[in-house]
């Protein structure tokens, strides 16, 4: 199980997150929503270690990972998909996947380019590319892909690295409606593998389609944490987006 308890982030005099807590089960998908500036991305940054949190604990499979640096949290299973595409655009699709697979392989075995371990990694990378229908583009630079393809590559690369908890920051931003379905299918596949998914998304219908619960943040605090049906019915949700008079 993945849990966050009483996470607080302060930058200068501003309190960005204040006492955020939640528990998410393996295979569960939780949508994270809230107006701009509510602290959604900072919440993800605090979980993945890119922002230092002053208070609270983050636990994954019973282990406290709060004090670990970002790379170490990733090694423990925290996978991050960034809002502004975290792929290596000047590398090929295949290299993007190989680099993830090499991250969990022994350096001693992969040091020589012609080693059998490297050949196995290459084959595995091709299989991951085929999973998101990028097998025809493995030799293309990742920067030449469409927004949707880049997103699929980034998610499948996180899977290839072996993430157990996926933090998806607006995975449908800059993605065409057709590719949106592909991204949704991939997220469903990730869930079916027993992995935990937290997803920041503005499109509430998209979140509802596979989230069992929705976490609503407002001004760095948890406003609601309930089923999508209950959250959409709650007047406080409308209030933070449209104001009291709406």
């Amino acid at each position: 199980m993945f849990s966050v308890s009483d996470i607080s982030v302060q930058i200068g005099d501003s309190s960005i997150l204040n006492g955020i807590s939640c528990e998410v089960l393996p295979g569960e998908c939780v949508g994270v929503i809230g107006p701009n500036g509510s602290g959604k991305t900072t919440f993800f940054n605090a979980i993945s270690g890119f922002v230092v949190h002053q208070r609270g604990t983050i636990t994954l499979a019973g282990r406290d990972i709060s004090a670990l640096p970002p790379y170490s949290r990733a090694q423990h299973g925290i996978g991050r998909v960034f809002q502004n595409f975290g792929i290596f655009r000047d590398m090929t699709v295949l290299e993007n996947l190989i680099i993830a697979l090499e991250g969990r392989a022994s350096l001693r075995k992969t040091l020589l380019p012609w080693s059998s371990a490297n050949r196995a990694i290459r084959e595995e990378a091709k299989a991951f590319a085929a999973q998101v229908k990028l097998d025809a583009k493995i030799s293309s630079k990742a920067g030449t892909l469409s927004g949707g393809q880049m997103r699929l590559l980034e998610i499948v690369r996180t899977l290839a690295f072996g993430a157990e908890v996926l933090l998806l920051d607006e995975p449908t931003a800059g993605v065409s409606p057709k590719m949106k379905d592909e991204v949704a299918n991939l997220i469903r596949y990730v869930q079916s593998q027993g992995k935990t998914v937290l997803i920041i998304e503005h499109d509430i219908n998209f979140v509802q389609s596979f989230s069992s619960r929705v976490l609503v943040l407002d001004q760095g605090q948890v406003l609601l944490f309930d089923t999508p049906e209950n959250v959409t019915r709650d007047p406080r949700l409308h209030e933070i987006y449209f104001g009291k008079s709406f």
Binding site: S48, F50, P69, P70, Y71, S72, A74, Q75, G79, R80, F82, Q83, N84, F85, G86, I87, F88, R89, D90, M91, E95, I98, I99, A100, E102, G103, R104, A105, L107, T110, L111, L112, P113, N118, R157, T158, F161
Partner: protein
């Protein structure tokens, strides 16, 4: 013939030096302006070890590489905490400190007079006195060094180093300890520079601080930029080109005191031209997410 051998030896030494600089600048996008300091340290370790002691060829090469590598860890420990421009300034400061030490620690380095009388190396009982036999040694060492660097370039380490040059956050999210990786790159790069310095000292038989001035750094920067940063084969081509291209100046009817400055001028003009022509594609855009 003798002049051709001289050029080949210089090309071999510069191949090791430039290709090692290509590891940090070309792959990792770390502008280490103290790379020549590593080269100087290697040369001085060999010079001191062979003139004051009885250091053999392989001991001298290993000691030179290791000392340069170790000092780069000291530099890396401080400079790698800085980012981008500040990192370059930090390494430049380190380079200046090394230059100042070479000039002022007269008891060890003999100051501006330098150290002369460095003997040519011996393998078993065979002394490599003439340049052609020395060329065989330098060629063999260069071949081994380039093979190791090529494996680094095309393997997981080189790939991760290239990736961090483009997007550090994304690589951190893939579980890579970037500081450790950069420190390792620094160590490897400086060790090879130290090795090149050792070969240089053996070849020229004399070292002094002026041999490791900032103009050497400019030449290395020019070689890596002209060869396209991060390109293994490009760096080999540009090293051969840039080490050999100023040589015809020797045969022109110009005063000998102008040959050195003209060579530097030519290399600088080439650097400016290449940077200008490739201004939008020399390095991939650094992205942060």
């Amino acid at each position: 013939m003798e002049y051709g051998i001289h050029l080949c030896i210089l090309v071999c030494i510069y191949l090791i030096l430039a290709q090692s600089f290509n590891i940090t600048l070309g792959l990792g996008r770390l502008l280490n302006l103290a790379h020549v300091a590593g080269y100087a340290i290697g040369a001085y370790v060999t010079a001191i070890g062979t003139t004051t002691g009885d250091m053999g060829l392989f001991t001298a090469i290993i000691a030179s590489s290791f000392t340069s590598g170790l000092l780069s860890l000291l530099l890396g420990g401080i400079a790698l905490r800085l980012s981008d421009d500040y990192f370059a300034i930090g390494t430049l400061a380190f380079s200046s400190i090394v230059s100042a030490l070479l000039i002022n620690c007269k008891g060890v380095t003999n100051g501006v007079l330098g150290i002369s009388g460095i003997p040519r190396p011996k393998i078993a009982d065979f002394e490599l006195l003439n340049n052609s036999s020395f060329l065989f040694l330098v060629f063999a060492i260069t071949f081994v060094c380039l093979a190791i660097i090529y494996i680094l370039f095309s393997g997981p380490f080189g790939r991760a180093l290239r990736a961090q040059g483009e997007n550090r956050s994304a690589l951190l999210a893939l579980g890579r300890d970037i500081r450790l990786m950069n420190t390792t790159a620094f160590f490897i790069s400086s060790s090879f520079a130290g090795l090149a310095g050792s070969l240089y000292a053996y070849y020229i038989n004399y070292v002094d601080p002026s041999s490791f001035s900032f103009s050497e750094m400019t030449l290395l920067l020019t070689i890596v930029i002209v060869g396209s940063p991060g390109s293994f084969w490009g760096c080999i081509g540009s090293t051969i080109f840039l080490v050999c291209i100023p040589e015809p100046l020797r045969f022109l009817d110009i005063p000998s005191y102008l040959v050195g400055p003209m060579r530097q001028l030519l290399q600088s003009v080439i650097l400016v031209l290449v940077v200008w022509l490739n201004r939008n594609r020399l390095f991939s855009l650094t992205r942060e997410v």
